[in-house]
């Protein structure tokens, strides 16, 4: 029996491919490039500055001196190479593209849906566009980022994605949340 490990998305079969997005929609990225960047001691500010200088990179705060760097344009290999070249000895870069799943929650009720599971103040004055943080959603630790007024991105470990998807659908049922793979 031959297993196809690399090509199969962990949520394949659980998320329909051809559902049109409703008012509130959860999109699952079919592929993504995510690299964990861990700054060397004393280099935190310099690394943060370099990450912010590149417009293609989206650095999500994970811990002091640690970020999840996401690129919507590059492949995992190219993103890893680009970061290694950009940061050199100042940071460790570890490719996590296949270890995480990226979800994007959009819609006017996105905040209300997330508020059912995350113990974080999601009001724009406390969690503005561009901010990100690790937070407990239900009982799963995720990285949550606000990418728009009514748009959030969630990065979760691959093995928890199935349960998180189930939880998010429950949280969004009252709002007719739709789910589909991102084209």
């Amino acid at each position: 029996m031959v297993h196809q490990y690399a090509d199969r998305h962990t949520l394949e079969g659980l998320v329909p491919a051809d559902v049109s997005a409703g008012a509130d929609h959860l999109a699952v990225a079919a592929r993504q490039a995510i690299v964990v960047v861990l700054a060397a001691p004393g280099q935190e500010a310099a690394v943060a500055h370099l990450l912010a200088s590149d417009e293609d990179l989206s650095a999500r705060f994970s811990a002091p001196g640690e970020w999840l760097v996401i690129s919507g344009l590059q492949t995992p290999e190219l993103l890893h190479q680009a970061l290694a070249a950009l940061l050199g000895d100042m940071a460790h870069c570890i490719d996590q593209s296949h270890g995480r799943v990226l979800l994007r929650l959009t819609g006017l009720n996105a905040r209300a849906i997330l508020a059912k599971g995350a113990g974080l103040d999601l009001h724009p004055s406390a969690f503005s566009v561009g901010q990100s943080a690790n937070v407990l959603c239900g009982h799963i630790s995720v990285n949550l980022a606000r990418v728009g007024d009514d748009a959030f991105e969630i990065v979760v470990m691959r093995s928890f994605a199935d349960t998180l998807l189930h939880d998010l659908r429950d949280m969004g049922r009252a709002f007719d949340l739709t789910t589909a793979f991102l084209a």
């Binding site: 811990a63 113990g119 943080a133 937070v135 407990l136 630790s141």
Partner: protein
């Protein structure tokens, strides 16, 4: 139990995101100390009613070890600082 902990890195979070290790005011004794001193350090704990300083880890957030100073009776949180910064240790 104090229910909202202001993490210095992540902001105000519910206590469910943290795990508690215990007393943060203990000072590790000299390796050559007597067995009795080591026994006290490893096993003997006070259970104070009032102000208490503890190690908490923000496991679901930044995963940093923090020092939380709280009141075990009123649940008031006085201060939360990163475990790597321990100003009172320099004066000991």
């Amino acid at each position: 139990m104090a229910s909202l902990i202001p993490c210095p890195h992540c902001g105000i979070r519910p206590k469910e995101e943290f795990s508690i290790r215990g007393d943060a005011s203990l000072v590790r004794p000299d390796p050559e100390s007597s067995d009795e001193t080591w026994n006290d350090y490893v096993h003997i704990r006070a259970n104070p009613r009032g102000r208490y300083r503890e190690h908490w880890q923000h496991v679901a957030g930044c995963r940093r070890w923090l020092v939380v100073e709280r009141d075990t009776f009123t649940h008031e949180v006085f201060s939360v600082s990163d475990g790597a910064v321990r100003p009172w240790e320099t004066s000991r």
